[in-house]
C-alpha cells in the first residue's frame, strides 16, 4: 500500500522525463530511422537555440515574470550582426558583439520599465516585442539580410566532432545550472520568485535580481538568435517570430512554474529537446506538413495538462495530516 503510493508519487514527480521517454519510444517504433545517431544529433542541434532562449525565459519565469520580447530580440540581434558585417564591413567578432549589445539594450529597456517605472512585465515586453520588431524591419527595410560566410561557417564548425551550436548550448546550460544552484545571486532568484516581499525583508536587493534576469534573458535571446542564423544563413523579416512561445513552452514542459519559484535548467533543456524531437519525429514519420503543428500543439497541451494534475495531486499528497492515527482514542 505504502510502496504503491510512493511509486505513484515518484511517477508524478518525474512527468517531464516520462513524457520525454514516451514520445521518444513512440517515434522510435513508428520510424526506426528516427533512432539513428545522426537524427539524434540533428534534433539536439535544432533545439539548441530554443533551448538557449528557453533558459533565458526560465530565469524570468522563476521570478513570476514573463518576457514576450525574446523573438524580436533574436531578430534585432541577428539582423544587426548581419548588417554590421555586410554593410559596414566590420570584423565578424565585432559584428557578433554588436548584435549582442543590441540585445542587451532591449534587455535594459525591459528592466528599466519593469523596475523603475513598475510596469507589468507582460505589458512591458508586449510593447518591446512590437517596437523591437518594427525597429528591426526599419533597419533592414524589411528585406532579408544575408550573412557572410564567416558566420555561416561558424554554424557548421565542429569541436571534437560535435557541432559548435551544441557545444555552446551545453556550455550555456552548465553555466546557467551552476549559476542558479551554486551562487548567491542564483539562490536569491528563487527566493524572490517564492515571495518578493519576504525577499526584500530578508535584505535581498530585488531590483538587482530583476535587472539580472531580464538582462540575462535578452543576452541569451541574442545569442540564440545568432546561433540560429549561423545555421540558416539568412535573416528575413519574420525571423524569430513566435519563438517566445516555443521558448516558454520549453521551460514549462520542463517543469518551470509560471507562478515563479520553481524550475530547473535540466528540465528546460529537456523541454526544448522534446519540442524539437516531436517536430523532427513527425517529419521522419512523413506526417502531412499541415498536420505536424497540430500534433505538436496537442502534445504540448497534454504535457501542460499532466503537469497541472501533478501539481494538484502533489499538493494534496504533501498536505499535512493534522491527525495522528497512532494517538486515536479507541
Amino acid at each position: 500500500m505504502r510502496s504503491k503510493e510512493d511509486i505513484s508519487k515518484l511517477l508524478l514527480k518525474n512527468i517531464p522525463i516520462l513524457l520525454f521517454v514516451l514520445v521518444f519510444v513512440i517515434f522510435g517504433i513508428f520510424s526506426p530511422k528516427f533512432l539513428s545517431m545522426a537524427s539524434f544529433s540533428n534534433i539536439i542541434l535544432n533545439s539548441s537555440y530554443v533551448g538557449i532562449i528557453g533558459i533565458g525565459i526560465m530565469f524570468v519565469l522563476l521570478t513570476a515574470g514573463i518576457d514576450l520580447s525574446v523573438g524580436s530580440v533574436m531578430y534585432l540581434a541577428s539582423a544587426s550582426t548581419g548588417l554590421l558585417i555586410a554593410n559596414y564591413h566590420v570584423p565578424t567578432v565585432v559584428g557578433v558583439l554588436g548584435g549582442i549589445a543590441v540585445a542587451l539594450l532591449v534587455g535594459l529597456i525591459n528592466a528599466f520599465c519593469i523596475i523603475k517605472l513598475e510596469i507589468l512585465p507582460f505589458v512591458t515586453t508586449l510593447g518591446t516585442m512590437t517596437a523591437g520588431r518594427a525597429v528591426g524591419t526599419w533597419m533592414t527595410h524589411s528585406e532579408s539580410v544575408n550573412l557572410p560566410k564567416t558566420i555561416t561557417s561558424l554554424g557548421s564548425q565542429k569541436v571534437l566532432g560535435i557541432p559548435m551550436a551544441i557545444v555552446l548550448f551545453l556550455l550555456i546550460a552548465v553555466i546557467a545550472a551552476v549559476f542558479l544552484s551554486k551562487t548567491q545571486l542564483g539562490r536569491q532568484i528563487y527566493a524572490v520568485g517564492n515571495d518578493p516581499e519576504e525577499a526584500r525583508k530578508a535584505g535581498i536587493n530585488n531590483k538587482k535580481i530583476l535587472f539580472t534576469i531580464y538582462m540575462l534573458c535578452a543576452l541569451l535571446a541574442g545569442i540564440g538568435g545568432i546561433i540560429s542564423v549561423a545555421q540558416i544563413g539568412i535573416v528575413n523579416a519574420a525571423f524569430g517570430k513566435g519563438e517566445e512561445f516555443n521558448a516558454i513552452a520549453a521551460a514549462v514542459l520542463g517543469g518551470t512554474s509560471l507562478a515563479g519559484g520553481s524550475g530547473k535548467v535540466s528540465g528546460t533543456v529537456l523541454g526544448a529537446v522534446m519540442i524539437q524531437m516531436i517536430q523532427s519525429g513527425l517529419v521522419y514519420m512523413q506526417v502531412d506538413m499541415y498536420i505536424q503543428p497540430l500534433i505538436s500543439a496537442g502534445i504540448i497541451f497534454i504535457a501542460v495538462f499532466l503537469d497541472s494534475i501533478r501539481a494538484r495531486y502533489m499538493a494534496k499528497a504533501e498536505a499535512r495530516n493534522i491527525r495522528n492515527e497512532n494517538l486515536a482514542n479507541g
Binding site: K182, Y190, K201, G261, R320, N321, I322, L327, N329
Partner: protein, 506 residues
C-alpha cells in the same frame, strides 16, 4: 557596562500625524525575558520594528550596552546582535534550510562566486541541534510542518549568534507539543545568557515565561512590573484601560430541542474521525480545540469547502449529499471564516458590494438575475444600522477603509442578509479590540435569541465560556468531550484538549 543590554528612552513615533508611540521607556537586562503585551494597535509591532531597524523613531534614543544604537536597516540590527523571529513565517518554502539561513550571506570559495556548502552545513547543523530539530540542512522547507518551520526560523535567528532575540507571537501556528518544545528552547537560551523580548496574546504563557512584563496601550506603557506582581486580571485591565466588570453580555437566548444541524460519523482520513455533533435552534455551541485539533477543518468540511469520505450532514433533519458552499447557502448555512482578509472580504470592493455579495442572487427576482439595486441599498444600509457598523458611506468606500472590528461586522452582516438558520463563526474576535469583541458577542447572543443556531469555534476558552450554552472539545481530529454551561470548568476542558500528551506518555 550598563545594567541594561538594550535600553529605550523617550521613543515616539507617529504616522501621518497620528501618534503610534508616545514617550516609551524601558530596559532589558542580560539573561532576562521581558514580555510585551497589549491589544492590537497598541504599538507593539511599531516598537519592535524600530528596534529591528525596519522603522525609524521620530524622537528618543536607543542604547545597546550603554552605547547609542540607531539601526537604519534590518541588517544593522542583525549586525548589532538583535534577531527578530516574526509572527508570520518568513521562510522561502522552495529553498533548503541552509539556503534560508544564509540567503543573503552565503560563504563562498575564496576568489569565486561559487557557494561553499561545506563551510555552512556544520553551522546550520549546530543551530538545528540547538532547537532540537533533527533534519538535514539540505531539507526543503516545503516539506516541514508549521511547527518545524517555526523552529527553523529560530535556528536562522541563532545562526548569527545574537545577544537579543525578539519573538513575535511565536506560538500561533504551533501545536501544544511544539509549543512546549519551544518554551524549553527559550528557557535554555535564557540560561545561555541571551536576552529575550517576547510578544504574545496568550497571557498564561506570558505569566509562565516572563521575568518582567510591560503593558502597552495606545502607544504608551501603562504598566511595567515584575512577573511575580502580575495577575492575569491586572494584565487585562492594564491592556484595556478600565476595570473589566463585564466582558460578555448577559445571555438572553433559550435553546430549543429542535436540531438545525446534525453530523453523523463524519470522517476524513488524516483530518477528522467519526464526528457526531448537533446544533439546536437558539443555541450557541462552542468548539474548543488547539491549533491542528481539526476544529476549523471540520467546519470547512460541513460547509462543503473540503471533502469528507464518510458520514452524514443533516440540516433540519434532511440529509445533504455532496455538499458545496452553494448547497450550504441554499440550506441556510452561513460561514464566517477565520481569515477575514483572505476568505471573508474583498478589500478593494465597496462596503456595499461586500455586504450584498451573498444575498444578491436571492434579491434578484427576474430570470436574468438583474441586480435589484433598490433592495440592495435598502438592505445593506439596514444591516449597517442593525450591527452598528461604523464606516464611511458604503456605496463609495472600499472595505479596507474600515477598522478590523468593523470589517468583521461586515462579514457577519453579509451572512445575516441571507437570513441564515445556522451560523458557523470561526475565531470571530481574532485581531479585533476589546470593545468590538463585546459587540460581536452581543450580536451572537442576539441572533441566538432570535432562534438561530450558532456554532462558534475559538482557541480562547474564556470567550467560549462566556457566550456558549455548550462547549465541545476537539483534539487530534476527534471529539474529546462535551460540557453543558453549568458544567463549564476551565481545568477539565483544558485537560480534555491536552489529552494527547497524557495518552502518549502512558
Amino acid at each position: 557596562m550598563s545594567e541594561y543590554v538594550l535600553k529605550l528612552e523617550h521613543i515616539a513615533k507617529s504616522f501621518f500625524g497620528i501618534a503610534a508611540l508616545k514617550d516609551v521607556n524601558f530596559g532589558l537586562r542580560q539573561g532576562e525575558l521581558l514580555s510585551l503585551i497589549g491589544e492590537n494597535g497598541a504599538g507593539k509591532s511599531t516598537l519592535m520594528n524600530i528596534v529591528s531597524g525596519v522603522l525609524r523613531q521620530d524622537s528618543g534614543s536607543l542604547y545597546l550596552n550603554g552605547e547609542p544604537y540607531q539601526p537604519v536597516k534590518p541588517s544593522d540590527a542583525t549586525d548589532a546582535g538583535i534577531a527578530f523571529i516574526h509572527q508570520e513565517l518568513n521562510l522561502f518554502t522552495n529553498l533548503s534550510i541552509l539556503d534560508n539561513v544564509y540567503i543573503n550571506s552565503f560563504k563562498k570559495y575564496p576568489g569565486t562566486p561559487i557557494i561553499k556548502k561545506s563551510a555552512m552545513a556544520a553551522r546550520v547543523k549546530e543551530v538545528l541541534e540547538a532547537v532540537d530539530l533533527k533534519v538535514p540542512p539540505e531539507t526543503i522547507v516545503e516539506k516541514l510542518s508549521p511547527g518545524e518551520r517555526q523552529l527553523v526560523e529560530i535556528a536562522k535567528a541563532l545562526s548569527s549568534d545574537p545577544k537579543i532575540l525578539i519573538f513575535d507571537e511565536p506560538t500561533t501556528s504551533l501545536t501544544t507539543r511544539e509549543t512546549e518544545k519551544l518554551f524549553a528552547i527559550i528557557e535554555r537560551l535564557k540560561e545561555e545568557g541571551k536576552s529575550i523580548i517576547y510578544i504574545s496574546h496568550i497571557l498564561a504563557d506570558v505569566q509562565k515565561l516572563s521575568d518582567q512584563i510591560i503593558v502597552l496601550r495606545d502607544g504608551q506603557i501603562t504598566d511595567n512590573d515584575k512577573k511575580e506582581n502580575f495577575t492575569i486580571q491586572r494584565m487585562i485591565s492594564s491592556m484595556i484601560g478600565r476595570e473589566i466588570n463585564q466582558l460578555y453580555p448577559d445571555k438572553t437566548n433559550h435553546p430549543s430541542g429542535e436540531k438545525v444541524l446534525e453530523l453523523k460519523d463524519i470522517s476524513q482520513s488524516g483530518i477528522v474521525h467519526k464526528i457526531n455533533m448537533d446544533v439546536c435552534k437558539g443555541e450557541v455551541v462552542g468548539m474548543f480545540g488547539l491549533m491542528g485539533s481539526g476544529r476549523s477543518e471540520l467546519a470547512r468540511i460541513v460547509y462543503g469547502l473540503d471533502p469528507h469520505e464518510s458520514g452524514e450532514i443533516r440540516v433540519h433533519g434532511k440529509e445533504i449529499r455532496g455538499i458545496t458552499p452553494q448547497k450550504a447557502i441554499q440550506n441556510k448555512m452561513a460561514f464566517v471564516t477565520e481569515n477575514r482578509r483572505e476568505e471573508g472580504l474583498f478589500m478593494e470592493f465597496t462596503i456595499m458590494d461586500n455586504l450584498s455579495l451573498v444575498s444578491v442572487p436571492e434579491k434578484a427576482k427576474t430570470k436574468l438575475k438583474i441586480v435589484n439595486n433598490d433592495s440592495v441599498k435598502e438592505s445593506t444600509q439596514g444591516m449597517v444600522g442593525t450591527l452598528k457598523i461604523k464606516c464611511p458611506p458604503i456605496e463609495k468606500n472600499p472595505a479596507k477603509s474600515m477598522s478590523g472590528g468593523n470589517q468583521q461586522k461586515v462579514v457577519i452582516g453579509k451572512w445575516l442578509l441571507t437570513e441564515p438558520e445556522l451560523l458557523i463563526v470561526d475565531e470571530p474576535t481574532r485581531g479585533i479590540d476589546v470593545g468590538a469583541k463585546y459587540e460581536v458577542y452581543s450580536i451572537i447572543n442576539q441572533l441566538a435569541s432570535e432562534g438561530k443556531g450558532i456554532w462558534v469555534i475559538s482557541s480562547e476558552l474564556e470567550e467560549l465560556m462566556g457566550i456558549c450554552d455548550r462547549i465541545i472539545v476537539m483534539g487530534n481530529g476527534e471529539i474529546r468531550g462535551e460540557l453543558l454551561r453549568e458544567e463549564f470548568d476551565k481545568e477539565s476542558i483544558m485537560k480534555a484538549a491536552f489529552n494527547q500528551n497524557g495518552k502518549e506518555e502512558a
